[in-house]
């Protein structure tokens, strides 16, 4: 017997079973709780309806961009929104040929900033959070106050002051101009601190000390493994933050070969105002720019320890 036939048979069986249940249900006497069950039903339907409307709203641009990326600029204006066009391949070829094939480079830059920045800031946060949670040392209070001030400071407002300093040091137009500022995030340190306080017991450190392990080894072989789930969350937050960053690279880099995809897309659409042909290319670019992060969010969903954040906000 083939698998399809078997599945069909099973489906048939299922259907019969369900019918029997329905018939049995009909035979039963209705309970007098009619009004309660109506409220009960509404209580299930109304929230579902509201959530479904929300889902439609949040998915609309994402679904639209998939359809729009297949259209030429002409089709974009003339055809119905949710029909496929004929020029997906043309759009992608145009996109990757745009400015002598820079698009792949911009995509690569985005990955450099996101992965590099997230690794750096996670490392800095892990070390600092661990030290603040588990050690008493002179100057700790000052560091904590500085950290809190840093959490409240509007980081983007500092982008222009940072630019001025970096320009003095000839650091603008290098990858470091973006990587250095995003490698320190007071919120990431704060999260690591909260997580270290909750997951690394002081007694464990003392036991390691008694056993003759030095502090560095204790940190690497006991502290870090315990911190790991929290650090993954910090990494993911920083990755998304860096991938989405626009103003910092926009200010720091005047050469387009150092631009991440966000800046490149902005410049492309900005030019599109005078060359509408670029619209279809920009939409194709938007699709490509969205794909990695969507995969990132979905696939890594179970690694997100967001309870960490909600817990830290108490």
């Amino acid at each position: 017997m083939t698998t399809t036939a078997r599945t069909a048979e099973r489906a048939e069986e299922d259907r019969r079973a369900r019918e029997t249940v329905v018939r049995a249900d009909r035979g039963r006497i209705r309970k007098p709780k009619e009004s309660v069950s109506l409220v009960h039903k509404l209580g299930g339907i109304l929230p579902t309806v509201v959530l479904l409307i929300a889902v439609l709203y949040f998915l609309l641009p994402m679904v639209w961009v998939v359809f729009a990326a297949t259209k030429s600029t002409g089709e974009l204006f003339s055809t119905s929104a949710f029909t496929f066009g004929s020029s997906l391949i043309d759009n992608m070829t145009d996109l990757f040929a745009y400015e002598n094939g820079s698009f792949a480079r911009w995509l690569g830059n985005s990955f450099i900033y996101s992965i590099g920045g997230a690794l750096l800031s996670t490392a800095v946060s892990a070390a600092a959070g661990y030290a603040l949670a588990l050690y008493r040392f002179p100057g700790k209070k000052a560091v904590m106050v500085g950290l809190l001030a840093g959490v409240l400071l509007p980081t983007i407002t500092l982008a222009i002051p940072q630019y001025m300093l970096f320009a003095q040091l000839n650091l603008t137009n290098t990858y470091w101009a973006v990587l250095i500022p995003i490698s320190i995030t007071p919120f990431g340190i704060y999260l690591s601190y909260v997580f270290a306080r909750g997951s690394v017991p002081q007694e464990l450190l003392e036991a390691a000390r008694v056993d003759g392990s030095n502090e560095g080894r204790t940190f690497v072989s006991i502290g870090l493994p315990l911190l790991f789930p929290g650090l993954v969350t910090v990494f993911l937050l920083q990755f998304i933050g860096a991938w989405n960053n626009f103003l910092l690279p926009y200010i720091m880099q005047s050469k387009s070969e150092l631009s991440p995809i966000t800046v490149a897309m902005f410049l492309m659409l900005n030019r599109g105002g005078s060359e509408p042909v670029l619209y279809s290319v920009a939409i194709a670019g938007a699709l490509i720019a969205v794909i990695p992060v969507v995969i990132f969010v979905l696939v890594l969903q179970r690694f997100w320890r967001l309870d960490l954040i909600s817990g830290s906000l108490k």
């Binding site: 409220v39 959530l51 641009p61 002051p161 897309m265 938007a286």
Partner: protein, 324 residues
Amino acid sequence: MTAPTIERGRGRTEDDPTAVPTRRRVSLTRPHHVFAWVLIAPAVVLFVFVFVIPIVYSGGLSLMGTAAGASAYGVREEVFVGLGNYTKVLQDPTFWTSLGNLAVYALFLVPIMMLTAMLFALLLDLPRARLRAFSRMAIFLPYGVPSVIAALMWGFLYVPEISPIYQLAETFGLQFPTLLRGDLVMTAIINVVLWGGIGFNTIILYTSLQSLPKEQIDAARIDGCNEPRIAWYIKLPHIVPATILTGLFSIIGALQVYSEPQMLSSLTPAISSTYFPLMRVYRDAFAHDDLNSASAASIILALATVLLSLLVLGGQRLAARRNA
């Protein structure tokens, strides 16, 4: 303090022969300072380099200005002008217009964002709502989309000839207003930011709800409490602290709005280059090459944000104390 503690304290002196185990502890506490500082050093160095020095540097710049007339040969001469740049910024009507736009933006954005996030978090937490895992994912997804790309996609969705929303309205014979023109452009900006921001706040509040003890809700249910009452009397008070703090982060974020209007401005003339304060700062610094007044405006904005944050935090502390 009890006597043994004091004795142990005394034991820390080197010449006490009875303090062998404690002396070992002493010899271990000293390098701890060094090790703790080794761990914290990168963060402190970077903090100074990325936060402190730029603030001090631009604070200095904001007090300087170029002397007019003194440089006949095009050599710019920096002179101390005191608070001159600040008064110049504060007297500029475009600064106040941009600040006004920012106030309107934040006053609409933050409450709508937080209330919707609360509603969605509570709905996602209802046992009888269907498709909860799928909805949660769909609501969270836009968080991963760069704000510039979100603005680009919505920018096209605001164009009536392209947008499915307008096409749908048309089949029902309805006429939707064009958002990218005139006063409605603020709605267009707020919508983009809401689309990208609600999901993250929803998930934070939702995870906060997960930490609520199950027994408490079960007990309420057994006592005949229905879902809306459970949401109102048990769940809502539980997520208020997290809501205030995510709200605070939303306020700080709202005051820094830049990417979305900047992106949309390439699709509409209704967003000027000074529409929001940060856009104005950018224009001063790069288009006008006036770093001094850009610095002054940056510092005014940063100070205002910190002040506002402290006010919110202070208010929350006060409310918490009154409740306690």
